[in-house]
Amino acid sequence: MSTVTLRDVKKAYGDTPVIHGVSMEIQTGEFIVVVGPSGCGKSTLLRMVAGLEEISDGEIHIAEKLVNNLEPRDRDIAMVFQNYALYPHMSVFDNMAYGLKLRKLPKDEIRAKVEEAADLLQLRPYLERRPRQLSGGQRQRVAMGRAIVREPSVFLFDEPLSNLDAKLRVQMRVEIRKLQRRLGTTSLYVTHDQVEAMTMADRLIVMNAGVAEQIGSPIDLYEHPETVFVAGFIGSPAMNLLDAAAFPGLSLPTDRGPLTVGIRPEHLVVADGGPIGATVDLVEPLGADTIVHAQLPTGDALLIRLPGNAKVTQGTTLSLAPKDEAAVHLFDKDTGRRI
């Protein structure tokens, strides 16, 4: 059963289109991450699902109900905002209880629900505090708690971790994912951080300039990027994307017009007599692995990720080969689509 269905959803501000038609079915309990560079329309898409932005064209269904013209409160959703959007003058308890109070639930039921959520999020000792007396991570949990107590059919997350420091972000990432698994609530999560996207998602939507470039599982996107954009966006360090002319040693199809060849840095191995020769410019030993910045004879830069114990010196020429056949991705140079 699908909880959220998007059918050719479009958004335009005046004459300027910002989302060019996104279609997708989200299954119950799925964790979907929308990822893309800033300005790609990912937040707008989320806000349209939330009901905070009008939908210019297309249909959004939540729990089998067309919601295009429904107010946010009637859509059975809960949202976690980037800067938490906690009511500063209310205690943690009141922040979490506010939505329930407006729904006119009985007092003891509200208390029970809020306390249950507080236990789940380890917020019990903080219920009487004001948001400003909490740390960033705790505020984030309160914002989560506010969403949880409503028991909606969909959680919406709008870059919820981007205001936290790096260490806390990793920790909260795991917490959110665990929590979502436990509650089994369908979630739509917007982020610009591809690591966050890869680690959390059941399925990813990669957006670029208002278009959903590819929808699929993280591994699927990593192994079979459909477009040059997805290929360059997913994976770190980024895939080497060069003209076919940069790799004269590789046997590439010649009947497909101009090609863009993509090889991930980690899919290059040092091999005697390998088809690719590159001069080492810079070596970055990271411990677990070594990132090598090299230059091809054509002058193009090439990134290589070698094991941590690799002995590479600057100025030498390496002979490299793709790890296997699947390591070489071919794209049509003009359309950017996979061949």
């Binding site: 905070l52 946010p72 809960a78 905002f81 980037q82 506010y98 729904r103 409503r150």
Partner: protein
């Protein structure tokens, strides 16, 4: 400043003491005058030490009207002033919050036009538009009524503008969060916007209460029955007694009583003021 020079310290303190004296002395004279009979205050020099007529004067002022000036007992004038001041204050605050809320949170046609129309009325205080306003109030049969005293003074561009600025500092996400939580616009106003602006409301309450309490010209125009006289205009009437001698002990006692409510409001609201300065919640 880390400068430590004895003569500077002395000089600045001397100025401060002088300033306090300039402000406090007239009030001291008022208090002293309250305790003397009418004759004592007509002599030169006027007494600077307390007399024994305080209770007499208070009793006279509070509960007996003055036939020479035609003013009712001061307790009635105080009540009138209080009703007017609180009416103006509460009315102004409510109206300004509502209009600022509309201007900040709703997109309606000619929004900016309405904002500027309100803004322009900043240049038109009561004194400027007093004749047309009187005409309207008289036409509505509101002379000699609390409504007539209060209503024309309620609209306030200053307060609307102030609340607009305050509301614009409240992040939009709060409004969106409230919408998702299921709050209607008015719920959001009452549950989020007003509590978040409460220190500004308190500050405005003080200013507007004093503004309302000190109204002189308008009450003078719209009240002809002594039952609706306010205390500030009452004092003025007591001074203009024509042939007879002004009763300074009575005037000073009334003046002192008229000073009490604004002082009480300032002291009561001071706590919220300071609190607003200390805990920045936004």
């Amino acid at each position: 400043m880390v400068e430590r020079r004895p003569y500077l310290t002395f000089l600045s303190h001397a100025f401060l003491v002088l300033g306090v004296a300039v402000v406090a002395f007239p009030i001291y004279v008022t208090v002293i005058a309250m305790t003397h009979g009418p004759q004592a205050l007509l002599q030169v020099p006027i007494p600077l030490l307390p007399g024994d007529q305080l209770w007499n004067n208070l009793n006279e002022v509070l509960f007996v009207g003055r036939s020479t000036s035609g003013t009712p007992p001061t307790w009635l004038m105080m009540v009138n002033s209080l009703v007017m001041a609180i009416g103006i204050t509460v009315g102004k605050i409510v109206i300004s919050i509502l209009s600022a809320f509309a201007i900040v949170y709703f997109r309606f046609p000619f929004r900016m036009l309405f904002f500027w129309m309100i803004f322009i009325t900043l240049m038109l205080p009561v004194e400027v538009r007093i004749l047309p306003t009187f005409e309207v109030v008289a036409g509505l049969n509101l002379l000699n009524s609390y409504t007539g005293l209060i209503l024309p003074l309620i609209a306030s561009a200053t307060a609307t503008f102030l609340f607009r600025q305050v509301f614009m500092t409240i992040p939009d996400e709060l409004m969106e969060a409230a919408r998702i939580d299921g709050a209607s616009a008015m719920r959001f106003l009452v549950d989020v916007v007003v509590p978040m602006s409460r220190t500004n409301i308190a500050a405005l309450f003080v200013i507007l209460f004093i503004f309302g309490w000190n109204q002189y010209l308008w009450p003078l125009l719209v009240t002809t029955e002594s039952d609706f006289y306010t205390v500030v205009m009452g004092i003025q009437r007591m001074l203009r007694v024509g042939e007879s001698v002004p009763e300074w002990n009575i005037i000073m006692t009334t003046t002192f009583l008229a000073m009490i409510p604004p002082v009480v409001v300032v002291i009561a609201m001071q706590g919220l003021f300071v609190k607003g300065l200390i805990d920045a919640e936004k």
